[in-house]
Every structure is written in C-alpha cells, then in structure tokens.
C-alpha cells in the first residue's frame, strides 16, 4: 500500500472525502516508521535481545497497538531527544514497563493467563483504553468508556492524572469526577462525534483513525468557579503523544455537543497533520522565530502552528456549514447565536487582504504544494463568501 503524498493527505481535509483509502495508508506508513524508530532505539543496547523478544511476543495486533499508542510515542520522542542532547532521564526500564503492560493487555483480552503481579496495582494499557487489576486470584479487565466505538475516554490513567506546566489543560490541578460527571462527559463527546458523523462522515473516519484517546481533565466544579481570564473549556493535542487529545471540563453542563464536535475535530486535524509531518517531514524546515500573527486570535504564533490553523479552521467551517445545511443544528439545544459566531470566526481569518502564504512571512523552506493548498483553501472560503454577497442589495 503506497504511502499517500502530502497533496492526497491535504485533500481529505479540503474535500471531506477519502475515495483512495488515504487515511489508512497514512496510518500504515506511520506504523512502519514507528516500528523502525523503536528498533533503532533498542538496537545496540545491552537489553536489545530481551526487549526485542518481548516485543515479538506481542503478536501483530498488540505490536500495532503499542506502536500507535500515546505512551510509547511520548517515551520514544523523549528518548530520541535526550540521546541527541546527551541527557539521560528516560530509560529502557520504562520501555520494558510499556511492553509488559501491553503483554498484560494481550493476555487479559485474549482470555489467557495474565502475568500481572498483584503488587503492581492497577496497570493501564499504553493506549489508555484498558486497565487491569489483579484481585483475589484473577485479573479484572476495566475498559475505559468509548465513543464512536473506538475512542477511549481516559479519566484516570497516569497520563490523564499527570501535571504538565507547559500544557494549557494538564497544568490545571485535577479534580476527581464522580460517575454522573463521567457519564455526562462521555455523552456530550459522543453527541459531538455523532454530529460530525452525520454532517461529514469522512471527517468522522479521520477522527477515529487519528484520535483514539481523549484525556479528560476536570479543573472546575462549576463555571462560576472559574477565575476571570482563565480557560473554562479548552482542548489540546501533543504531537509526540500519538492518537491522544486533551479536553478541559467537558463534564460541565455548559459544554455542548456543538462545542464537543468543534474541539474533537480541531484536535484531530492537528493529529492528522502531525502524522503527515511524521511521514513526510516537518512543514517548516526553517526556524519558527519569525512568527506570523494569527488572523484568528491576533496572537503571534510559529509558522508551523499557523499552517495547522489554516487546515483546522477550514475543516471546522466545512463541518458547521454541512451540519447547518443538513438541519442538524436547528434543534433547541443548540445555541444558534454561538454557533453562528463561531462559524464567522472560522471564516474571518481567511478574509484579510493578504494571502495565506503572505501571512507566513517566511515561506522559504515550506513545500510548494502546501503553500498552494493554503492559498486554495483561502480562495475556497472567499468564493463561498462572495456567492453570499453577489446579490448585494439595499435593505
């Protein structure tokens, strides 16, 4: 199966269609590369033979699960970075733990005797979709709730409970969620995904392929607890944590299905483009020092973020437009004014006098196909607006 070209990869976002199995082909290309990177990380170390044997024992399905997991992505990216910088805080022992965890998953899910030591307590799979607990002689399998059949909602894995001061979501101290709040979060995220499935089915497929884990952080008991200026609802992705996204406070009643849809799509497009960069190289080969100003937020952002933003907001607009035209947003539970304002916000960034490539300021080192598609998306939005304005009339 041939690796899809960047043009094909971008086309799925632009058209909302995937007749040539581009999504699957990109994932397979990434899988193969991740496998090679893992082999390189292990190779030449004294533990190589042992780790390789553990990996091979997993079998194809569980190898793929491991390779496409956020936990392994995190470990591998940090391991490689530290080797380059001569720092050594990641260890092969951590990799061994990941291999063990997936081995436990393979046995427990396969109904086979499971090598889980009771003393280890609760163990999570590297994908965060199952945890396992050895209790009274048997291993209990605890599946995470899912949306869209395949996307795990992760409330309490070690990654979900971690603090990361560089993260907008994971820098907020975690509060425990009760069962009602967990159920509410899962239901609204499911409703958001259903909205996407009904409006843009291939975006739904893209999401399922490139987002397999939604980490939920609760930082507020209610909206009124929020400090002025602080985020109430936020979403985030971290490139090295493959297939994962983070959501802040989706348990709150004010978090709507439309907001869930927008955020799930937004972060999944980031994950999708990250997979493209993984396979084809970073969009910006030069430094990110000269920052364009985002026409959406007015903030200075690195070139690479700007490029992502163009695709993200294009996709969000297409989603809202499709959902609106299919009559999916007319029910009373949808806040029409808010949805209209958001749609306008998505469109607005495309409507300045400058072309998208002019915004980049440093277009050097950016692939010509990519530059062409950025301007093409802008033109598509402008044409859409122009059609609306063609019959300019007097009120």
């Amino acid at each position: 199966m041939a690796t899809p070209s960047p043009r094909e990869i971008f086309q799925v976002v632009e058209t909302g269609l995937d007749p040539d199995g581009i999504l699957e082909r990109l994932q397979l290309a990434r899988l193969a590369l991740q496998r090679d990177r893992l082999a390189q990380a292990i190779g030449g170390t004294p533990e190589a033979a042992c780790l390789t044997a553990s990996y091979e024992q997993l079998g194809a399905v569980h190898q793929a699960r491991l390779l496409l997991s956020a936990d392994l992505g995190e470990w591998l990216a940090l391991w490689e970075k530290e080797r380059n910088e001569g720092v050594h805080s990641t260890s092969l022992a951590q990799l061994e733990e990941l291999l063990d965890s997936e081995r436990i998953a393979a046995s427990a899910l396969g109904g086979m005797p499971c090598p889980l030591d009771e003393a280890k307590g609760r163990i999570w799979s590297p994908m965060g979709d199952y945890s396992f607990l050895h209790q009274g002689g048997s291993v209990e399998v605890i599946p995470a709730p899912r949306i869209g059949d395949v996307i795990a909602i992760d409330f309490d894995s070690p990654l979900a409970r971690s603090m990361d001061y560089a993260s907008g979501v994971l820098s907020q101290p975690p509060l425990p969620l009760d069962e009602t709040e967990k159920t509410r979060a899962v239901e609204v995220l499911q409703a958001g995904l259903e909205l996407i499935d009904a409006s843009m089915p291939y975006y739904g497929r893209l999401i399922r392929e490139f987002t397999r884990r939604i980490i939920v952080r609760k930082s507020l008991e209610s909206v009124s607890d929020a400090v002025p200026g602080a985020s109430i609802f936020a979403s985030e992705h971290m490139t090295r944590q493959i297939g994962a996204i983070r959501m802040l406070n989706p348990h709150l009643p004010e978090f709507s299905a439309a907001m869930a849809a927008e955020k799930i799509l937004h972060e999944s497009i980031h994950n999708y483009l990250a997979a493209c960069e993984y396979v084809h190289g970073s969009f910006c080969h030069r430094g990110n020092e000269v920052r364009p100003v985002s026409p959406w937020s007015g903030n200075p952002i690195p070139n690479s973020s700007f490029i992502h933003a163009v695709f993200v907001y294009f996709a969000c607009f297409k989603l809202m437009e499709a959902a609106g035209e299919a009559g999916l947003l007319s029910a009373p539970e949808h806040d029409q004014a808010r949805i209209r304002a958001r749609t306008l916000q998505f469109v607005s960034g495309f409507l300045s006098n400058q072309s998208m490539t002019d915004f980049l300021i440093t277009a050097e080192g950016v692939d010509a196909v990519l530059l062409e598609r950025l301007d093409a998306m802008q033109e598509a939005i402008r044409a859409r607006v122009r059609v609306e304005e063609e019959d300019v009339e007097y009120a």
Binding site: Y165, A166, G229, N288, E289, V290, R291, P292, V293, S294, P295, W296, G298, N299, P300, P302, M320, E321, G324, E325, A337, R338, R340, A341, T343, L344, Q345, V347, S348, G349, L351, S352, N353, Q354, D358, F359, I361, T362, R384, V385, E388, E389, V392, E393, Y394, A395
Partner: protein, 297 residues
C-alpha cells in the same frame, strides 16, 4: 469632478485629527464607526451573514480616497455600535466594509490588527525589512515559546517588550494578559540617537527625538521612504536609532502618528497630499498591487 476623501475615525483622540484640516476647511469628510455602521444592515442568512447596504449608503460609493483608521476595532466596540449584528468578529467587519468601497482606494487595508503589512508586530516588521535589501539594520531578539523563558545570553543588554508596543522602549513596561507569561519577547536595548522619520503622503518629515541634530538627514529620509513603500503605508511614523558606529537601525513603524501630530510640516504635507488625491477623477491604483510588487523576490 473631484471626489472627496473620507476619514474613517475610531475615536476623537486619533492623532491624525491634529494633522488634517477640518472638513469645513477643505479637509476630508469625517465619519465615525457608529455612522459607518448605520449605513449597513446585516442579515444573518443560513450559514454566513449577508451585508446589505441601506439606501443611504449609496452616496458613500461616490467618495474617493478612504483613510481607514478603524484598524484597531475590537469586538466590544463593534457590538456597542452595531446592534443586531450579534457576535460579529472584527475580521468579518473589515471584510464586510470592503463592499462599501469597491474601488479599493483605501489607506489602510481592511484587516484586523496584524493581518496586514501596516499592522505587523515588531519582529515581523524587522523580518520584512531585513529581507527587503534596504540598507538598514534591525534589532536582534529572542522569543520564548509558550511559558518558557528564552536564552537571552546572545543579546547585548536585553530588555523585555511587548511585540505590539512600537514606540515604547523602556524595560519594565507592564505586559498585560496572556502576553505577560506566554511567548516572552526580548530585544537588545536601543543604542545611539533616536530619530523619527514619517511619511505623510508623498513627503517625508524627519525629526531628532533627542538633541537638535539629525546625523545623515538625507539617508534617514531615503530609508524612511523605502520602508514606508515596503509596508505600502503613505501615512506612518518610524523610529530609528543612529548608533555611535554610524549604523542606522530601524526599530518600528507605526500608523498611530502621535509623534508628528504637533508638527507644522506634517500638517502642510498632509494638506498637499489630500489636495492631490481629491483632484483625481478615477480611483488611484489599489494599495494591494503596490504591496505585491514590493514583496516580489
């Protein structure tokens, strides 16, 4: 038949008001945001709003040169003036206004802050100038991404700044909001003699900001003209520093015009420029095409 210029004002505190003559004395017609908004009606449509002109807007199309000072519009000002538009974003507003002046004879471009060449943050201005080939230096700086504190050791005497404060170069200026802790920006403290170069229409006005003398005045005038052409900005003021070593460094280009507001020669230049604009029968070449030429590699 001469077409009057119109000055779109954000507020009565705009320094440009001190440079242009009042309408009664032959200056441009003035219009505030509220009046401008009264000429349009927004129909929210199916997905996207539609801008509908009121009958009164017809005469707006007869205006010639538009001096648009509404680039600092924020969502709050809009909603205060524009009832019934809902949550209109400033970017959308600028776009909607384009249809009122189809000839495109606008100074400055219709775009929200940072979205056009004339309203760029400092490091982006320096980048545009540095790659233009104009013989002027630009400051050295570093950025911290997110919450990180960047390594400033390569900078001589670094000060922390906001990327949007063009003419304020004191260390310790308060940086509010998210910019306070994110994307920290450090630049070398300016050295030498501060100089002002302003472009008023076709003419250049210069002034030393400290002391009496401008070193190499013709060079300053020349560089001011080149940089204002580069930013496609016929009304702007620029801060330069002339170092002990004779190096001229471009520090900022601002559309605010606060430094030339009291300048008699600026007023005279403005008067001559407006007279020349209003004398044309057809719209002048749109600003956008001049900018494309300037950016060509």
């Amino acid at each position: 038949m001469p077409r009057p210029a119109v000055l779109l004002l954000h507020s009565e505190g705009d320094p440009l008001l001190k440079i242009v003559a009042a309408a009664a004395d032959g200056g441009p017609v003035r219009m505030g945001l509220a009046e401008l908004c009264s000429h349009v009606h927004v129909d929210h449509g199916k997905t996207l709003p539609r801008v509908l002109l009121r009958e009164s807007a017809g005469e707006l199309r007869a205006y010639g040169y538009v001096i648009n000072r509404l680039f600092d519009i924020d969502a709050r000002s809009l909603s205060a003036h524009v009832a019934g538009w809902g949550n209109l974003s400033p970017s959308w507003f600028h776009r909607a206004m384009v249809s009122l002046w189809p000839a495109g004879t606008v100074c400055y471009p219709w775009a929200a802050k940072g979205a056009s060449l004339v309203q760029l943050p400092l490091p982006t201005q320096w980048h545009v100038v540095a790659r233009s080939g104009i013989a002027v230096a630009v400051p050295r700086y570093v950025f911290g991404f997110g919450e990180s504190i960047p390594d400033t050791s390569a900078l001589r005497d670094p000060i922390r700044k906001s990327i949007w404060s063009y003419f304020s170069w004191r260390d310790g200026d308060v940086i509010d909001g998210p910019a306070g802790t994110r994307n920290r920006f450090y630049v070398e403290r300016p050295q030498g003699i501060p100089l002002l170069g302003a472009r008023i229409g076709d003419e250049i006005v210069t002034r030393p900001l400290r002391g009496e003398r401008i070193p190499e005045p013709e060079r300053l005038r020349h560089v001011t003209r080149l940089v204002s052409d580069l930013f496609d900005c016929p009304l702007c003021e620029m801060l330069f520093y002339y170092g002990d070593d004779g190096v001229l460094t471009f520090h900022a280009c601002s559309t605010r015009l606060g430094s030339v507001a009291e300048d008699a020669s600026a007023r005279a230049s403005m008067q001559r420029w407006l007279a020349s604009l209003c004398a044309v029968q057809a719209p002048s070449r749109p600003a956008a095409s001049r900018r494309e030429e300037a950016l060509a590699p």
